[in-house]
């Protein structure tokens, strides 16, 4: 069955969610991944949204934003952002997802400002991404794989990964946490436990490692045993398409 890179990324992201976990969901692909995980292997997962919504059941309709009516109707809890952020800061959020415009080899993300030899491009900013990257027990990054996006050093650290690598997070005062995976349109990266550098652990079906190297702005480290990402099942794809019937997030764009 045919599928888009976005649909594959949703499936890969869903597999990272464990049953019973408290997940800082956000929107777009991560929301679809959360819905897929809940409908399959993680029925007890709880979803947090930074606007102040907590859901343990899926919303009844497609959501363009986390504040759309259907995300509030039948929610498990609804209130202030401060209370959701308090859960994050007190170590009660297991996993968070964030997307980025630019990433470097230590998993630092930039969604604020890029500087292409003097050409400034202003991006929307952090939103809650910096908070998730700083405070969630672990987080996962989802983004398009292009050479201009995977750079040796980000122009602005909006959402800290492992900084300059090693024990940088501890040095700046971040308690544990950090990215555990980077899911791109081409493959899946993990992080070296010591150096905290991104390591390509699997390429998506039909993608050559050479292609990944060519689209990455630094010499990519490959895992000793480079595997191929397991393709989405028909059942998984059908679910994703029921959550995003117009393909607003998974086909028409990104």
């Amino acid at each position: 069955m045919e599928y888009t890179p976005q649909e594959l990324m949703v499936v890969v992201a869903a597999r990272e969610i464990r049953d019973g976990e408290v997940v800082f969901v956000g929107m777009r692909l991560p929301l679809l991944a959360f819905l897929l995980a809940k409908a399959t292997h993680a029925p007890q997962a709880v979803g947090l949204f930074e606007n102040g919504v907590i859901r343990d059941t899926p919303a009844a309709e497609f959501l363009a934003t986390m504040s759309d009516g259907p995300n509030v109707t039948g929610a498990a809890w609804c209130g202030e952002m401060m209370e959701v952020m308090a859960l994050l800061q007190s170590g009660r959020v297991d996993l968070g997802f964030i997307g980025g415009a630019q990433i470097d080899r230590f998993g630092n993300l930039n969604t604020s400002v890029t500087n292409d030899n003097g050409k400034i491009t202003r991006l929307p900013g952090s939103g809650g991404a910096c908070d998730i990257a700083s405070l969630a027990r672990r987080h996962i990054i989802i983004m398009n794989h292009e050479r201009r996006r995977l750079v040796p050093r980000v122009d602005y650290v909006t959402s800290p990964g492992y900084g300059e690598g090693g024990d940088w997070r501890q040095t700046v005062g971040l308690r544990g946490g950090g990215p555990v995976a980077v899911i791109t349109t081409l493959g899946l990266f993990r992080f070296d436990p010591t150096t905290k550098e991104m390591v390509l652990t699997s390429v998506h079906p039909g993608v050559m490692a050479e292609k990944v190297k060519a689209e990455t702005g630094w010499p990519v480290r490959l895992a000793p045993t480079l595997s191929t990402t397991e393709a989405p099942t028909e059942a998984e794809l059908q679910r994703i398409r029921s959550y995003d019937p117009q393909g607003f997030w998974t086909r028409s764009r990104q």
Binding site: A64, L135, G173
Partner: protein
């Protein structure tokens, strides 16, 4: 004494040139677009806009030339990405140069909470190691006096005015609001003045029947505007849904500044007021946003 007043009078009185204004405090819902559009029509200048994220409203005010400074965690079009006027202002100084004070959602929530609590700052562990921390010179880092670990100290924000949408209010500003509220309560309590745009004006007894649902004590509210659909195209729980197409149209018509000026005239400058805006939208479109499936809150007994 009733605090009811027309939107134009309230914006004229409480939003002076150079004022700092919190809007969009509930994130993607309850955004007071009607108030922002009135600011544009009144030609406000040098405003400081404060909010966690801003789903196109800040981009509109920036493009219209009303804004000198933005204090926010995110500025753009949530479902469609970049804020083109925000980009042009920062990258090209068009129509005006724009000062941007970067925050995260949590840090701006803490800044407003500190203002509401009446303390100079609140401590946090977010932002450590981030560019937000190194670029935003108002935020300090200091070792915790208890643990010795580095802590981020976020200074209080006390805006001139907070503008909130509520589902219903009495004429004295006692109001009910439900659905996600983001940082609305903190924003209202931190600000010198609070303005409510109410979908419905109700008797005081309706509000007093459920005091836990009151978003901000009435004595802290300065003005109440009866402005149904003031949030369009953003959703207001139980009143109307999000008008997705408006955001799509805005995305299309702001890629070039010329296009934006066309949009601005059509939807803001060339309509007399909020009623004119609703008339232009038309009944069919507003009907389509109506609540489709009713879901009433379970009864609650407050008797004694």
């Amino acid at each position: 004494m009733s605090k009811l007043s027309p939107l134009s009078a309230v914006v004229a009185r409480y939003v002076s040139d150079g004022a700092s204004v919190v809007m969009g405090s509930a994130l993607e819902c309850l955004i007071p677009f009607a108030a922002g559009h009135e600011m544009i029509r009144q030609g406000k200048r040098d405003l400081t806009l404060i909010g966690p994220i801003s789903d196109i409203l800040f981009d509109q005010l920036i493009g219209a030339g009303c804004v000198r400074r933005v204090i926010a965690a995110w500025v753009g079009n949530v479902a469609f990405g970049l804020g083109r006027n925000f980009r042009r202002a920062v990258e090209e100084g068009s129509p005006h140069p724009l000062e941007v004070e970067d925050h995260s959602n949590f840090s701006i929530a803490l800044a407003l909470e500190a203002g509401a609590l009446g303390v100079p700052y609140l401590p946090t562990r977010t932002l450590l190691g981030s560019g937000i921390l190194s670029r935003n010179t108002s935020i300090k880092v200091a070792p915790c006096p208890f643990t010795g670990q580095p802590l981020v100290l976020v200074p209080a924000l006390t805006p001139d005015v907070a503008i909130l949408i509520v589902q219903r209010s009495d004429e004295n500003g006692n109001a009910h609001c439900w659905g996600p509220t983001g940082v609305s309560a903190a924003a209202a309590r931190a600000s010198r003045h609070t303005i409510l745009l109410a979908e419905e004006i109700v008797d005081a007894d309706v509000i007093r029947s459920d005091p836990n649902r009151v978003v901000v004590p009435g004595f802290r509210v300065n003005a109440v505007v009866h402005a149904p659909r003031a949030g369009h195209p953003s959703p207001v729980q139980g009143c109307y849904n999000r008008d997705h197409e408006s955001y799509a149209e805005y995305a299309r018509r702001t890629r070039a500044s010329q296009d934006f000026l066309g949009w601005l005239h059509e939807w803001v400058l060339d309509v007399k007021d909020h009623d004119g805006y609703l008339t232009k939208l038309g009944r069919d479109r507003l009907e389509a946003l109506r609540v489709k499936r009713s879901r009433l809150a379970a009864p609650v007994e407050y008797g004694s």
